[in-house]
Amino acid sequence: LPAPPARLPYVPHVPPMPLLGKVTATTFALERPRCVFDGHADASDAVWLAVAFANASATFRNPRSRADVPPYKQLPTARSYMTLETAAAAYSCSAPSPPVLRVGGDTACRDQGRQDPCNGPLPSPGPYRVKFLLMGCRGPKAETRWSEPILLRRALSPGTIDPAPTRRGSDVVVIASILASLGAVLATAVLGALGAKVWGSLCHQELGTDAFTRRSYRTHHIPPALPQPLPPGCGCSPPGLC
C-alpha cells in the first residue's frame, strides 16, 4: 500500500493585501505557497489545487494517480475538482513568481471543453475550501490543510437601487419660497394699483377730480390788465368830456 501523504501545516488563504479583485463572483485569488513543498518534492512532481464545496471537503478522497484526478466539469456532481497543475519547482523558495494565484480565470477551457486540467470559473458562490496536493508518479505525496471556507461575491440586481434623492436640498426650498413670495407681492401690487385706479375713476368721475394724481401745474403768469392811456388825438383834458 502506498504511504499516506504527509500532512503539511500550511493553510491556503486568500491574500491579505488589498486587491479589489481578489474575490469576485466566479473567481478568487490565493496566496502562492512558497517553500512549503521543499523537502517533499522531486523535480518531476506536480502540485495540484483541490477545490471542493465547503460541505464536501470532508468526503474528498485524494486521487491515487493522475488519471483519477477529478476534472473541472465534474464539479456540480462530484462537488470537487482539481486544477492548477504546476511543477513543484514553481513553488520552491528560490523561484521568482507573482505572489498570487487566480482560481477560475480561464474561460476558454470551460467553453471549449478541453480535457486538460481546467481552471474554469466557479459556477456558484460556494463557499469553497481548497488545499494543495503534491502528486508524484505513484500518487499523492504531501498535502496541505484545508483552507477556511471562501465565499464568493453575490451580486444584487440593479432593480434594488432606489434612485430617489434621500432628502430635498435646502437650496430648492430657499429659492422656491423666496421667489414665490416675490411673485405674490408683485402680483398683489399690480392688482392693487390697477384696482385702485379703476375704483378711483369709477367713484370720482362725476366730481372730475382725481385725488391720486400729482399734478404739476405750470402756470402762465398773466398780470392783471393795466388801464391803457388814451391816444393823444382827442384833445380833451378830462377824458370823455369835451
Binding site: 434612485p163 430617489a164 429659492i175
Partner: protein, 256 residues
C-alpha cells in the same frame, strides 16, 4: 416744486439704471444658457436616458427669458424717460410674464439638480451600458458616453469598480465575470489603448486599474449648469422685483 421735480428725476435715474442692469443681466443669462445647452461635457445622453433632462429645459427657457429681459429693459428705459403711461403699463405686464417664466426655470433647475443622485446614474449604467440588444438609440449613446467618460477621466463606474461586482449588469450578461470583473476601460491603458497589465487589472492591483468613480466627473459640470441657471436667475429676479416696484410707483404718479 423744484424738490418734487428733483425727486422725479432721481426716480427716473434709478429706474433707468435698474433697467440697464436688467438688460445686461439678460444678455449674460442668454449667453450662459447657450453655453450650457451646447453640451460642452457631452453628458446630455446620460440625462436624456434618465428621462430627466429638465435642467436643459430650464436652460432653454433661460435663453428666451434673457432676450426678453434685454428687450423689455430697452422698452422700460424709453417708457421712463418719456413718462408714458401706456408704454410703462405694457412694460410692467410683459415683465410680470417674464418674471413668471424665469421663476419656473429657476425652480425647475434647482429641483431637478437634486434628483440627479449617484444611484440614478448607477442604475442607468448597470442596466444600459453595453446592453446586447439595445432597445433604442439611447442605449448606444449611453454606452458611448460612458466609454468616453471612463477613458478621458481615468475613472471606473459611478462610485468605483466595485459597482460592477456588487450588482449584476447588462455588461455581465455578455462579458463573463472571470474575464471582465469590470470593463476594459477601467484598466490603465497604454498609448495603443491596451491594458498595460491585464492580469493586474483583473485582480485589482493598485496602479493597473482606475480605482476612483466617475460621479465627480459627472456631477461637477451638472452642478455648475444647474446652479448657474438657478442662482443667477434668482439674483436677476430679486433685482427685477425692486425695479418693477419702483416702476409701478412711478407709473402711478405720472400725469395723464
Amino acid at each position: 416744486m423744484a424738490k418734487s421735480d428733483d425727486c422725479i428725476h432721481i426716480l427716473q435715474g434709478l429706474l433707468v439704471f435698474g433697467n440697464v442692469v436688467i438688460g445686461m443681466c439678460g444678455i449674460a443669462l442668454t449667453a450662459e444658457c447657450i453655453y450650457f445647452v451646447s453640451n460642452p461635457h457631452d453628458l446630455y445622453p446620460l440625462l436624456k436616458a434618465t428621462e430627466n433632462n429638465d435642467i436643459y429645459a430650464a436652460a432653454w427657457i433661460g435663453i428666451f427669458v434673457g432676450l426678453a429681459l434685454f428687450a423689455l429693459s430697452i422698452l422700460g428705459i424709453i417708457g421712463v424717460i418719456k413718462a408714458s403711461r401706456t408704454l410703462l403699463l405694457v412694460y410692467i405686464i410683459l415683465m410680470l410674464i417674464t418674471f413668471a417664466f424665469e421663476m419656473a426655470s429657476c425652480i425647475t433647475a434647482a429641483t431637478h439638480r437634486d434628483s440627479l443622485t449617484p444611484s440614478l446614474f448607477l442604475k442607468q449604467m448597470l442596466e444600459r451600458y453595453q446592453k446586447s440588444e439595445p432597445a433604442n438609440d439611447s442605449d448606444n449613446e449611453v454606452t458611448k458616453t460612458w466609454d468616453e467618460l471612463m477613458l478621458q477621466n481615468h475613472c471606473c463606474g459611478v462610485l468605483g469598480p466595485s459597482d460592477w461586482q456588487e450588482y449584476t449588469s447588462a455588461f455581465h450578461l455578455t462579458h463573463s465575470d472571470a474575464d471582465y470583473p469590470w470593463p476594459r476601460q477601467c484598466c490603465v491603458l497604454d498609448a495603443q489603448g491596451l491594458p498595460i497589465n491585464l492580469d493586474g487589472c483583473k485582480l485589482g492591483v493598485p496602479g493597473y486599474y482606475n480605482s476612483n468613480g466617475c460621479y465627480d466627473a459627472i456631477s461637477g459640470p451638472l452642478n455648475t449648469h444647474a446652479w448657474g441657471v438657478a442662482w443667477f436667475g434668482f439674483a436677476i429676479l430679486c433685482w427685477t422685483f425692486c425695479v418693477l416696484l419702483g416702476t409701478m410707483f412711478y407709473w402711478s404718479g405720472i400725469e395723464y
